[in-house]
């Protein structure tokens, strides 16, 4: 038998039918749904008189619109409330489980799938959200889809999909201290560019990746879409299996044994061929800060805002000129001299318990800089409860940060958590696009520890230098 990649194995096991000249029909094991990209899909089903084929393979939550200042929809604007009500009605009518606002399992769709034990290795997972790649951390083929495809999957439990190319991103060596999964992802994006992985499914390999916790793996896979990749994935190992065991929907008893046996086959065979391989030397990575308006536009915190003229490619040069004008930055400015108004800790990229622990460890015994606002938004209701049980909320509050309720929040600012024009934010989220966090807002993407360090100093600082300085009461 020919050597196959992890992706090949999952693909082959999910092809329902493949007709010559047509994209394959792939079976979908889990369909995650949220309030923003689903109403038109349910409406489409109604117009055509179609029903949801497998409600048990669909799970819904509310995350994009939910206010973070109250546990229910209170405080949301009229249209957001209507959108959330519509989701609840659609789920009720179709027999779909909905962990909506106020539910103990509510949260960002890419946080709750894994924490409920629904995200499993070897599955095909879709969601009307581009950061679905997150679930690939478990060795699943997980991809974001549009609303028409959401409707298609609801009606057929299948997805039409041309077979993507495969790309290996191999991370060699050892990460320096203080360098996180977020810095690794930003470093990869800087190396391959915003369209570097278009048309490809990326498999992350190498010792660094398998040394990562599941939370770190999710951060890495989450950002695959920012390089244009259709999905990111990591072969499951003991860390994966330990994470899943005993979660609410994880398989049990003999099904657990069967699942673990199946998962042990889920790795790329020796000699399996990828269409492309990129190798990253972990030792070259540093705590990283984006300076532009794409996640690929970044430099180490020890660096400076680049001169657009330094880019050889004309499109990159143009893009840098625009980005610096939007961001209000001058070429040559040291990154450490950039002062901040707001710090946002949260999102499907970095809103999990480990992210909160890491940031809290930096903030413990320190204070958020005068005049700076810091929002801490847990990724789910379960993360929030766990953080409170560990006393992290007290650390954030004592430092002067705001401890909020779970949701997407300021990652995309669909709820009231937005930046004002010209405000500058260090954010642990995934996109620094123009206006992403609020019209005219200026976003710099960083890791949770770098965000916490910046909150203390009021400007960017290498978190490792802050550690050396010791806690200041």
């Amino acid at each position: 038998m020919t050597a196959r990649t992890l992706f090949d194995k999952i693909w082959d096991a999910h092809v329902v039918t493949e007709t010559d000249g047509e994209p394959a029909l792939l079976y979908v094991d889990l369909h995650l749904v949220h309030e923003v990209t689903s109403p038109q899909a349910f409406e489409g089903l109604r117009i055509e008189g179609r029903s949801v084929r497998r409600p048990g393979l669909v799970v819904a939550t509310m995350d994009h619109n939910v206010p973070t200042t109250g546990m229910d929809a209170g405080g949301a604007d009229e249209m957001s409330v209507a959108q959330m009500d519509t989701l609840r009605r659609n789920c009720d009518e179709s027999g779909i489980a909905c962990f909506g606002a106020g539910h103990r399992w509510q949260g960002i769709v890419h946080v709750i799938g894994p924490e409920l034990g629904l995200t499993l290795p070897g599955t095909v997972i879709v969601c009307g959200d581009s950061h679905t790649a997150t679930h690939g951390a478990f060795g699943a083929f997980a991809l974001g889809i549009g609303t028409s495809e959401v409707e298609h999957v609801l009606a057929t439990q299948c997805l039409r999909q041309a077979r993507p190319l495969t790309m290996e991103v191999r991370i060699e060596g050892t990460l320096p201290p203080g360098v996180t999964a977020k810095d690794t992802a930003l470093g990869i994006l800087n190396a391959i560019g915003t369209a570097g992985a278009v048309g490809h499914v990326v498999e992350y390999t190498g010792p660094v990746v398998h040394g990562f916790s599941m939370e770190q793996r999710m951060t890495l896979c989450n950002l695959t879409i920012e390089g244009g990749g259709r999905a990111g994935m990591i072969a499951p190992d003991d860390v994966t299996i330990a994470y899943i065991a005993n979660r609410p929907y994880a398989p049990r008893d003999e099904q657990w044994d069967a699942a673990v046996a199946a998962w042990s086959e889920l790795r790329s065979d020796p000699g399996a061929r990828y269409d492309r391989t990129v190798t990253i030397d972990a030792a070259t990575l540093e705590p990283t800060v984006t300076w532009g308006t794409t996640p690929a536009q970044s430099v180490p915190v020890s660096g400076r805002v680049p001169d657009p003229e330094s880019f050889a490619d004309a499109a990159e040069r143009e893009s840098a000129v625009r980005a610096l004008a939007y961001m209000g930055l001058e070429p040559g400015t040291p990154i450490a001299d950039i002062a901040l108004d707001t710090v946002f800790l949260g999102s499907c990229t970095n809103g999990r318990i480990e992210d909160l622990r890491a940031a809290a460890a930096v903030l413990a015994g320190r204070r958020v800089h005068d005049g700076l606002r810091m929002l801490v938004v847990p990724g789910s209701a379960q993360v929030k409860v766990q953080a409170e049980n560990e006393g992290l909320d007290a650390i954030f509050r004592d430092a002067g940060a705001e401890w909020r309720n779970p949701g997407c929040s300021m990652c995309l600012g669909m709820n009231p958590d937005i930046l004002q024009p010209g405000e500058r934010c260090a954010s642990t989220s995934n996109r620094n696009f123009e206006g992403r966090q609020g019209r005219g807002g200026r976003t710099h993407l960083v890791s949770p520890v770098m965000a916490a360090a910046a909150a203390v100093e009021g400007h960017f600082v290498d978190v490792r230098q802050l550690d050396a300085a010791g806690a200041r009461a």
Binding site: L25, T37, Q40, S130, I145, T156, E318, R431
Partner: protein
């Protein structure tokens, strides 16, 4: 789906790369539960200033381009968020085809599903079209899916779409109906799925 055979209309140059879907339709307009009515919010933050007044320097606010139906733009158009609202906004504004060197994967799929054609051309051909549309404002272009050609002034370029995708667009076929033709295969596939796969409807599943 509305079929697409040929579109002849004004070519609109948007000379920048990595135009993400947050720019095509900013998030404050994603709260509607309908599929239509997004056209007026297309490129909102570029088209209007903070007070809502039109910005005269933006291409769609210029008289010659206002009624354009084909957009030509830099690489990686439609990257970022999966929001299909970006496609609905373009289509609602009257845009029927977008020409670029490359597109975000999800945007491309969304566009094809809604009858908006993403036309891939090499960088130098995209550049030639942007330059021509800039030098001769209001020039018309023809995007022909039957012959798979783009014609504008003296320029004539060929392009290729996946044959299945092209057929669907030409005939305006409904994707879900096509899939439901495979009902027997889907049912057979379901019968042999491993029992450990997630299923919230299964007896004993937690809620």
């Amino acid at each position: 789906m509305r079929p697409f055979q040929r579109e002849e209309g004004v070519l609109v140059p948007l000379d920048r790369s990595d135009v993400d879907t947050d720019q095509i339709i900013p998030k404050q307009f994603l709260k509607r539960i309908e599929r239509n009515g997004y056209g007026e919010f297309l490129f909102n933050d570029w088209r209007r200033d903070a007070t809502g007044a039109p910005r005269p320097d933006f291409v769609l606010n210029q008289e010659e381009y206002r009624s354009g139906t084909v957009l030509v733009t830099g690489r990686n158009f439609g990257c970022g968020s999966s929001r299909e609202h970006a496609v609905w906004a373009l289509a609602d504004h009257g845009i029927r085809a977008v020409i670029s060197e490359s597109f975000g994967d999800i945007f491309s799929t969304n566009a094809l599903g809604s009858g908006l054609v993403p036309v891939p051309l090499p960088e130098h051909e995209v550049r030639a079209l942007i330059d021509l549309a800039t030098e001769q404002p209001g020039i018309t272009v023809a995007v022909d899916l039957v012959t798979e050609t783009v014609t504008c002034g003296d320029l004539r370029f060929g392009f290729r779409l996946d044959p299945f995708v092209r057929k669907r667009l030409l005939e305006g076929l409904d994707d879900i109906s096509l899939t439901l033709d495979h009902e027997a295969a889907i049912t057979a596939f379901e019968a042999q799925r491993p029992a450990w796969m997630p299923d919230l409807s299964r007896a004993g599943a937690s809620v």
